[in-house]
Structure formats: C-alpha cells, structure tokens
C-alpha cells in the first residue's frame, strides 16, 4: 500500500477508532462507577423492592419491573398498529398517498420526547383518569384494574410509549417488506389468493425481519425516559395494576440523579444505568441480527 494511502487510512481511522472508543468507554465507566453499589449489594439489589435511599434501603426490583411491564404493554398495543401501517403503506395504499403518509409517520418519530411528556401530563393523564374513574365496580376488583384512579400510572405510560414506538417499528417493517421479492406475492395471486392471503405470504417470507422490527421497538421503549417519567407517577412499587403509579429504570435516574446525596446512592443509580445499558444493548443486537439476516446492510 502506498504510504500516502496508508496515512489517509490511519488519519481517518483515528476518528473511527474514537467512535469505537466511546462505546467501550461507556461500558467501562458505567461498570466502574457502579462498583460501589455492585460490591455492596450484589444480586440482592435486584431482588428487593424497598427503595428508600434516605434510610439506606436500595431495592431496585420495582424499576426493572416497571420498565419491562410498561414496555411489554406498549409493544402489545403498538405492534399491530405499526405492522398495519407498514402493510398499508407498502402494499395497499394508492401511490399518491404514500409520500404524505410516510412523512406523517416520520413526524411521529421526530416529535421530541419532552413534548409527548407535556401532552401526556396535561391531556393524556386527565383522559386516562376519566377512563379509570368510569371503570365498572366488577372490573375494579381485578388486580389489573385495582387502585384509585390517579391518572398517572402504568396505563398512561404504556399508551404514551406505544405512540412513540409505532413509527420506529413501522418504518423498519416497511423496509423489511420491501425486500420481499414481488414474485412471492405474484405466486400467491396466481394460485387464486385474495389480497390478504398474498400479503400474508409476503409477511411469512419476511417473518424474521418483522420480529426484528418489533424487537427494535421494544428496545426503544425500554430506554424511553422523559415521556414516561412525566406520566407514570414515579412510585417505586411492584404492581400488576394498570392504575398504579410505578417507576422505570430510566425515570428513576432522571428524577433522582441530581438528588443523590452520597456516593452509595449515586453508585446505585449508576448501576441501574449499567443494567439498562446492557439490556438495551442485548435487545438491539438481537433485533439487528434478525433484520440483517433478511436485508444485509
């Protein structure tokens, strides 16, 4: 290799290495700065649910519970909607509508989280409160719907997360559907399939990629901070009820980081950040693997 070419390669390689370095540094820093908490509490940290830092109690179970519960609920709501949109835009809609619809879904994704949160506090929460208050007595008895109608709580969080996840999953699912060769649908049509059956054949072909798209949305929901913390109630309790105010990993870091008065408290919060980092990393790697198996970059 000529020396000028080598200098070029190293010259820009340094910047590329910086990118790599940053990611590694994040992992190392998080691990390092949570070592105090890791050593002190070990796995007990994640098994106990009493979070009372003032009294020295650090039980982080409510956070991981709240994160997963809200994200799974959001996924349950968002996935059919997102896939419906993806199918509509890529298979069903008239050519003229395609561009405006794509623009609108991108707009959904572009709205800042804080704006969703603001809308959440002043519009969504009162609406959810009204829904919760109007729940019939019979359903109230179920653990899923128990508790006073605060408005803030798991339901509001799941709804707002669903709204934010839909455009992500839908955009990736659309890309995946684009890679399905037209001949697959044509083969189905030629055998006398209805539109639904032909689309189903295409979606079957793309199933790995679609699962990847859904997982990507899941990863997005796991890490969402502002919108969630503004509507979830921020109460560290483990509860099955949709009405109960709860807490997520991202939300507790956002709310309590600046108030962490001692090194242990800070280290505990950073440990929560570390676990959040690792979980989202795993989900993202898995989802990307699934998507790339269909559509290599």
């Amino acid at each position: 290799m000529r020396s000028t070419d080598l200098r070029f390669r190293i010259g820009i390689g340094v910047f590329a290495a910086a990118l790599l370095l940053i990611v590694v540094a994040i992992g190392i820093t998080l691990a390092n700065d949570s070592s105090l908490s890791l050593q002190r509490f070990g796995f007990r940290f994640w098994r106990t649910s009493n979070w009372d830092p003032v009294a020295g109690e650090f039980g982080a179970l409510p956070f991981i519970w709240g994160t997963f519960y809200s994200s799974v609920l959001a996924l349950a709501i968002a996935t059919p909607v997102a896939l419906g949109i993806a199918v509509f835009i890529s298979e069903l809609c008239p050519q003229a509508l395609r561009a405006p619809l794509m623009f609108l879904t991108e707009l959904l994704a572009a709205i800042p989280s804080i704006v969703y949160g603001l809308w959440g506090i002043f519009v969504l929460v009162p609406a959810v409160r009204a829904i919760e208050a109007s729940m019939p007595e019979g359903l109230r008895a179920l653990p899923l719907f128990s508790g006073p109608p605060f408005g803030v709580g798991m339901l509001a969080a799941a709804l707002i997360l669903a709204v934010m996840v839909v455009p992500f999953t839908s955009a990736v699912a659309r890309e995946v559907l684009k890679t399905v060769p037209m001949t697959q649908r044509e083969a189905a049509f030629a055998l006398g399939a209805t539109r639904f059956e032909a689309i189903r054949a295409a979606m079957f072909y793309a199933r790995t990629g679609i699962i990847g798209a859904v997982m990507l949305g899941f990863g997005r929901a796991l890490g969402e901070t502002m919108a969630v913390t503004m509507v979830i109630g921020n109460n560290p309790q483990v509860s099955l009820s949709l009405f109960a105010p709860q807490y997520t990993m991202a939300a507790v870091i956002a709310n309590e980081f600046t108030e962490a008065a001692n090194a242990l408290y800070l280290s505990a919060l950073i440990e929560i950040g570390l676990v959040l980092f690792v979980i989202t990393l795993l989900v993202n790697v898995l989802s990307r693997g699934l998507i790339w198996s269909m559509a290599p970059p």
Binding site: P94, Q95, P181, T183, Q184, R185, E186, A187, A188, F189, A190, L191, G192, A193, T194, E197, A201, F204, Y205
Partner: protein, 274 residues
C-alpha cells in the same frame, strides 16, 4: 439461449392441430390494448386459442409477449396505472368484464414464472398452499393425495417423495421450477401460462420441462412465452410472433417456421434482428 453443444433432442411429435370450428375456443382475445399509464405497451391484439394445444409466444426482448401473457390472468392488475382496452374471453366469458371474480379466475388460469419462486416452506406445503387457501380438499389424506398427484404430474414425485417436509429452497433450480409447476397444477387449472419457464435452467433441466409440457397438454391449454425459437419449435403446436407490442403473425408452428407469411417474422426467425 443458443447452444453450441449437441443436446440429445427429445423426439417429440406435436399433435397435428386441426382447428375444429365446432369446438369452443378456450381463449379468445379481441382487440386488446394495454397501457402503463400513458404508455401503450400492447396494441390491438386479437388471437384465438383452442383447448389442449400448446401455443408459444415469441419475439425480441421488450416486444410485449410477457405483458400479454400476464393480461390473460389479470396479473397486471397489481401494477399501478395499468389499463386494458378490449376483451379477453376465457370459455366465452370476458375476464375484464364487470362482476368477474378475479380470485376464482386465477385458480382456473395457472401461472409459472420465469424465475422459480417457491415459498420458504416445505415441498409439501408449497404444493398444498393453493389447495389450502381455496379449500379444495376436506381431509388430510385427500390433501396428501392431491399433493402426490400434482408432484407426479410434474415429474417430481420420485425425486422428493422421501423428503416432502424438507425446505423447498434446498432443491436445485430445475427441481424448484418443477415444484412451481406442481404447485400450479394442484389447484386444477384449465389453462397454464408459462413465462419463460426454462430460461434460468441448464439444458438438461430445460429438456425435462419441455417433456413435461408435452405430456401435460392433453389435459391443459398451455401458453408459453419463450425467447428461444428452437424451444418454440420443439414444444408448441401454434406460435404467435410479437414485435413492439403488436401481434405480427399467428400460425401453426410447423408452417411458421418453414414458410412464414410476414417478412418481419422471417427476418426474426432467420436472425436478421432480435
């Protein structure tokens, strides 16, 4: 594709197609024009096809033969901006008429594509697909029987009978194409449209497909698009020559290849352009 290697030619004797004026036409196209938006791709095509014959569509690339083939089962409907003028009558009924059940029509008019397109499922499931969605069988054993029958008709049964539940994608190109033929045959169409079915295959596989066509035509009306003139000569009873979206000549194969009426046809057949 011209081959310089001497391939053992099957000794096919085309049945002598005597047009029987009393027999109802299987496919009767009247003044068909086809448009992609503003662009006209097919101009005023009229052709009458008898049942149980093999008709070949030949012509240079881009002459419209595939487009025309696809109008015969309304496959062009899925292209946005596609428009059709004229009539395509199958068994006397215009398939572009109002109130036509396209889904049912497509079951009757089967199609095999240029590049084999099996579903990413097992061999069995591929053939069973059409039977399932059209609910054509009422029991598992009936389904299995029909699958076996179709695979035998496509001359594939012996090769796959022990691995019916393996992935279709693990087969060779020629086998996949025969699978696609079996899949199309399973729904018992009356007409089989084949769009350059052997163009992606090696000569041996091509030969097997051609033999298959010969054996199938007793029970089906077959229309095959091919860019290989020798294939058309080997396999078909009638040949239609297309050029720039128009039907130039339509004639019995033996007559067209020995004494074509149009100069354009003769020029194409003798390789003066193409």
């Amino acid at each position: 594709m011209e081959s310089s290697v001497a391939i053992p030619r099957p000794t096919l004797k085309p049945r002598d197609p005597q047009p029987n004026p009393n027999q109802q036409l299987k496919i009767d196209v009247e003044h068909l024009s086809f448009f992609y938006g503003e662009k006209r791709a097919l101009e005023d095509i009229s052709i009458k096809i008898q049942p149980s014959v093999v008709t070949a569509f030949i012509g240079p690339s881009g002459c419209g033969k595939s487009t025309f083939l696809r109008t015969l089962n309304r496959m062009n409907d899925i292209i946005p901006g596609a428009r059709v003028d004229g009539r395509v009558c199958i068994d006397g009924e215009d398939i572009y008429g109002p109130g036509v059940d396209v889904v049912a029509m497509r079951r009757k008019v089967g199609m095999v594509f240029q590049k084999s397109n099996p579903f990413p499922k097992s061999i069995f499931e591929n053939v069973a697909y059409g039977l399932r969605i059209n609910k054509m069988t009422s029991s598992k054993s009936e389904l299995a029987g029909r699958v076996e029958e179709s695979l035998k008709q496509a001359a594939l049964w012996d090769e796959v009978k022990d691995r019916l539940h393996e992935s279709a994608l693990a087969m060779s190109g020629g086998q996949q194409q025969r699978l696609c033929i079996a899949r199309a045959l399973a729904v018992k169409p009356e007409i089989l449209l084949m769009d350059e079915p052997a163009s992606a295959l090696d000569p041996i596989a091509t030969q097997r497909i051609e033999e298959l066509i010969y054996h199938l035509k007793t029970n089906f009306t077959i229309v095959i698009v091919t860019h290989n003139m020798q294939q058309a000569a080997r396999v078909s009873d009638y040949t239609a020559f297309f050029w720039l979206g128009r039907l130039v000549e339509y004639e019995r194969t033996d007559k067209m290849f020995t004494a074509p009426s149009e100069k354009l046809t003769e020029d194409y057949l003798t390789g003066r352009f193409g």
